[in-house]
Symmetry: C2
Subunit: 383 residues, 2 copies
């Protein structure tokens, strides 16, 4: 396989963006990435998107985005893996170049979720669980992650405070990110007094419904120059798990994350201790706690204590979600996996502004779909 | 890039299959392909599907199918490019192996369209055009292809008889295909007396709404054996065109098909004259006529005469849609691109039963999405 590098990144503001359509957002992020990469030619476009068919009544996004970028007749492909659509699109773009089929690829993740009533957005999101055995009985993702949280509390004695510290940290990081959906700092009391969504998860345990897009330009080694601060993709691992939660041996271990991480670490020849900056999929606060354990940064059951000890803070041993995560930055589903890569690249280039951590060399992004039926882990490093 | 081979194929019956769910169909086709390939290990699954979200209220198909095949935790990816989802999934699987990331890949295309009222299925299909400029004004695909047909008639004097001969031939070929949705032979009079859908297109000019799945197993050269009659993938070309029809320079030339074919021929080092068996995307009868011209088999404007002269019959110079095409075999959207590959592989292996043509060495499959906004052309050959 050929080496592949990220040579440009672009992102829109995330939030409730009633003045921007899906195509506006995808084009804005893509043009920023193209400008950042200083490329004048693209061989292939990969689109990461979850469910534009149900959110905005438009399928077949790939040629649509190519068209609105003025890039046809180049090939354009859309990839869908629920909330991991962005991460899986990133891998698909990686393989385009690794195989030698393309030299320069644009990967853009996008979702437009706020044109619907929130209840209807919840319905669209619920199509990512096993509809015949889960959704049909009325459960949606807050309910599924509430089951995980309850079981985790029972097994490991996680406290309400430890759980609340996840969104408190992520809002704090988001407050310094101008593109984040939320710039307000929240307190433990704010989280504990927010409305109950699915016991024990409260409103501030849940990532929001968002609009937004993020894009990266990937290139082969013969096309990179020091000007664009190329960041190497050292390893990508992907795995799947049962679709329905009830079929799993454990509710508190995400098998797909564990398998995906194992592959990514092996390909990149890295260990958890080598990672300087981390993006994890905090769709719900319990998901961040499970992720930092399943990725090998802390032992199972110890994630809550690690967060309480400040180990995942921006100046901690393992900085997690330094630009706000899904909770603070926003979670336009198909954009999330690419937005994570944008944060990692910005950190590794030293361009993360007020959120910059000190001299990171290696970063990891973790993106899941559904209740962890898909997981993808990407490791990037400074060359 | 590494060489990639098709080492197994499987297909379900196509039709109105009220007793089978999407997951049943995907599993049935996949198991047939796995059995045919005699493999006991799969590295990655690629799913081609158009819009299960709107057709059956289930997204995130990739891990669902992996789960129901008992194959998790292997990586599973869903690809969507409207009616070209199958063809683009095939290419994605090809790159998995060409890059060296996987050695054995299952690609399965599937669609379950008949659980909805036909009017609702038409709505779902219409999401593949440009909704903001085409769909919103009420046009659906029969209308778009009717515009193409009218213009073609005006420019080249195509007759009603020539147009009707497309479905007559495709039903004749489907009559010998036990998996086809339609096994009835139809006459010119049947076509001409069928209800008008969008002038000049009549019911028998339109492919049906269908359920079905098709699967292929791809393998790298180190894993093939003569036992499984491996067929080499010699070249794949993909291209895009404007999303909306009104933006094109010509209504009668499909630019994406022309570009995709050019690339595929170049990579495969073949010319149109080298192709022995052809599958084209006859979603409407006019589409088959444009395709056989845009692929280089006949000059522009001469496709109707070629069909009338029998040149695309099963014993003609360029046999087209030998197992019935989309019109006769059925068109479960996401399955179609893979079903085309299944037909080409069966013909090249000499296993196409009553539809077998004489000693084909090279085959070509042509799959489009929307009104030709996506096109993908694959060339396969006997080694």
């Amino acid at each position: 396989m050929r080496d592949v590098f990220v040579v440009g990144v672009g992102i829109t503001k995330f939030g409730v963006l009633w003045d921007k359509s899906l195509r506006d957002l995808a084009v804005e992020a893509s043009l920023k990435a193209i400008e950042d990469a200083k490329v004048d030619k693209i061989d292939t476009i990969i689109i990461g998107n979850y469910s534009s068919g149900t959110f905005i009544e438009q399928e077949h996004l790939a040629p649509l985005i190519a068209d609105y970028l003025g890039l046809n007749p180049i090939p354009a492909i859309k990839v869908e893996n629920a909330c991991a659509s962005g991460g899986v699109a990133f891998k698909t773009g990686f393989l385009e170049i690794a195989s030698g089929n393309s030299d320069i690829v644009l990967v853009v993740g996008v979702e437009k979720m706020t044109d619907l009533l929130t209840s209807r957005a919840s319905y669209s999101l619920s199509l990512a669980c096993d509809r015949e055995f889960e959704g049909i009985n009325g459960i949606t993702f807050p309910g599924l992650f509430a089951l995980i949280a309850r079981r985790y509390m029972y097994e490991f004695g996680l406290t309400r405070k430890q759980l609340s510290l996840v969104p408190v940290k992520n809002h704090k990081n988001a407050s310094k990110n101008p593109n984040a959906q939320f710039n307000n700092i929240i307190t433990l009391e704010d989280v504990e007094n927010s409305p109950l969504v699915a016991d024990p998860l409260r409103l501030y345990d849940c990532s929001p419904v968002s609009d937004g897009a993020a894009a990266v330009i990937l290139a082969s080694s013969n096309l990179i120059s020091k000007d664009t601060n190329p960041i190497k993709i050292s390893g990508i691992g992907q795995a799947s798990d049962t679709m329905a939660l009830y079929q799993r041996d454990s509710l508190v271990e995400f098998k797909a994350t564990i398998e995906a991480a194992k592959k990514a670490y092996k390909i990149a020849n890295k260990k958890p201790e080598d990672i300087d900056v981390i993006e994890v999929h905090d769709c719900f606060s319990i998901a961040e706690i499970c992720a930092i354990e399943d990725l090998g940064f802390f032992p199972k059951g110890k994630g809550g204590e690690a967060i309480e000890a400040g180990l995942t803070d921006i100046d901690g041993k393992y900085p997690v979600n330094t630009t706000g995560g899904l909770k603070g930055k926003g979670h336009p589903v198909g954009a999330t996996g690419i937005a994570q890569i944008v944060t990692i690249v910005e950190q590794l280039r030293g361009g993360a502004g007020e959120n910059q951590i000190k001299n990171p060399r290696v970063g990891l992004a973790h993106n899941i779909g559904g209740s962890g039926s898909t997981a993808i882990v990407s490791i990037l490093e400074v060359i």
